[in-house]
């Protein structure tokens, strides 16, 4: 580790959801430890329902770990830390707010005055190819646009770590490919740390520097893969396929 202090580090994260009455609790995460160096794009794959989302929710502060700690640059991550941003699969846009108003919500909550937050939001609207749709409500936008608004809304807060929970999971494959390339373009300029949950191995291989494979519940880390390929990657090329095959092999052991 070159700069071990500049990283997102989770140590022995465990999570058990208590059962109701006589029901047994659900053990979701089992001592998950990992270190993600700053500026890396890391994907998490695993059998469905294995606890990928729970892991993100704990880091985002929406859920408390039963045991273990999350450190950012060596310091305990506080709940509601401004260093963390989360993008939801279902977009979670506010239906009564326009594109512009959704994107400027974070600065608005922070107390940035109207003129400045508008200007900042317009910058992001340009960056995310949403010009012309500033005053549309979410119901008037396509799925791909909604997710661009959702990502812009998160990135405008300049989080150090961006958590993404299957952000392209409900999009058709063409829109999905387009957004993957778009996201990489943005990330290559900003170099935020991204922790990206997906069930789609192709997507993980195309996007990431590193892929973490989780086991079925209770989730442990089974294996991590380094994807050292140059970008832009050829998603159907030989090298991508090679890594995909290896990841799928490990994954299929887990889903047996």
């Amino acid at each position: 580790m070159r700069e071990p202090h500049l990283s997102l580090n989770f140590l022995d994260l465990s999570k058990t959801f208590p059962g109701r009455g006589l029901e047994e609790g659900v053990h979701v995460l089992d001592q998950v430890s990992h270190r993600i160096e700053n500026g890396r794009f890391v994907s998490v794959v695993g059998p469905s329902g294995c606890g990928k989302t729970t892991l993100l929710r704990i880091i985002a502060g929406l859920e408390k770990a039963s045991e273990g700690r999350v450190l950012l640059d060596g310091a305990e991550l506080l709940q509601g830390s401004e260093a963390i941003g989360l993008v939801f699969q279902e977009y979670a846009l506010f239906p009564w707010r326009t594109t512009l108003q959704n994107i400027e919500l974070g600065p608005e909550i922070k107390g940035v005055d109207k003129e400045n937050r508008r200007a900042k939001a317009m910058e992001y609207i340009k960056m995310f190819n949403l010009s012309g749709f500033e005053n549309r409500y979410p119901r008037e936008l396509s799925g791909g646009m909604k997710q661009r608004v959702a990502i812009a809304r998160t990135l405008i807060m300049n989080p150090r770590v961006v958590l993404m929970d299957e952000p392209f999971g409900s999009l058709d494959s063409q829109t999905r490919n387009g957004l993957q390339e778009f996201l990489l373009g943005i990330w290559e300029r900003r170099r935020d740390t991204i922790l990206f949950v997906t069930h789609n191995v192709d997507e993980a291989v195309f996007l990431s520097d590193q892929i973490i494979v989780l086991s079925k519940r209770p989730a442990r880390i089974v294996k991590t893969f380094e994807v050292g390929l140059q970008r832009p990657r050829d998603r159907t090329g030989h090298e991508c396929n090679e890594i995909r095959r290896e990841v799928l092999k490990v994954l299929s052991e887990e889903t047996k």
Binding site: A92, L93, W96, I109
Partner: protein, 251 residues
């Protein structure tokens, strides 16, 4: 509106007028449409009791409704937001409201008169009771219908409780609040007329007016007054609906 909307009512009115003209319907029980129009003219120009003209009856009634309704909305909306937001508060207050809510507003008239005497305060109190619960319950259900993920999204943008309240719960509940406000004004308007039956100090009010018309045996004026009450209720609803569709363009 298309002509089908008017065709059947028009035919029925013509039959009614025909039967009345042939004296097949006794006019002291059901006056003819033409008599009712003349009765309406008398309400406007002569007044019931004489001198108390229709527009003043309307103004007094509207004033009573506006007062009771405004207080109902101002209390029910914030309270409903709080109750939807706090499960503890909802549990604590629910049984209380469940007991009070099924009491018809009109059943409060005797105690209202005891508390407030005969006059605007009593009438406004009755209207308040009629409007309060629909607005409260719809505000609560509006808050409860907000997707939890929106609260989480706001939290990940570092929203504090105040922001959650003003930027998520309130706007998210607005459509439901409007439903409650429309039901509330409907019930408020209905209870008004009944509340005025029990007496008004000022000598004005639409309910008071049609009761007085009965005392002086003027069924034409009773029916004309009933139509006025219905039309005003309709206009209020149309007005609220227009505000509603302007306010919630996002749906």
């Amino acid at each position: 509106m298309k002509k089908e909307h008017f065709l059947l009512p028009l035919v029925l009115i013509l039959i009614w007028q025909g039967l009345s003209s042939l004296q097949l319907i006794p006019s002291y029980k059901l006056p003819s449409p033409l008599d009712i129009i003349l009765g309406f003219k008398d309400l406007l120009t002569v007044g019931v009791p004489p001198g108390n003209l229709l527009h003043n009856h309307m103004l007094y009634s509207l004033y009573r409704v506006a007062l009771g309704y405004a207080i109902a909305a101002l209390l029910a909306i914030p309270l409903g937001l709080l109750m939807g937001w706090s499960p503890v508060l909802l549990r604590m207050t629910r049984s209380l409201f469940e007991v009070v809510r099924p009491i018809p507003p009109l059943a409060w008239i005797p105690i209202a008169i005891l508390w407030f005497g005969i006059g605007i305060k009593s009438a406004a109190f009755i209207i308040f009771l009629g409007a309060f619960f629909p607005i409260l319950l719809n505000t609560i259900s509006g808050v409860l219908s907000i997707q939890p993920i929106l609260l989480e999204a706001a939290r990940t943008l570092h929203a504090k409780e105040k922001d959650i309240f003003l930027k998520v719960l309130l706007p998210g509940a607005v459509p439901s609040i409007f439903v409650g406000m429309r039901i509330g004004i409907g019930i408020g308007w209905m209870t008004l007329v009944a509340a005025e039956f029990t007496g008004v100090k000022e000598g004005y009010g639409l309910g008071y007016m049609i009761m007085t018309a009965r005392d002086i045996q003027r069924p034409d004026e009773i029916l004309a007054g009933m139509l006025v009450i219905g039309v005003i209720g309709l206009l209020i609803d149309i007005g609220l609906r227009a505000t509603e569709s302007k306010t919630i363009k996002w749906q």
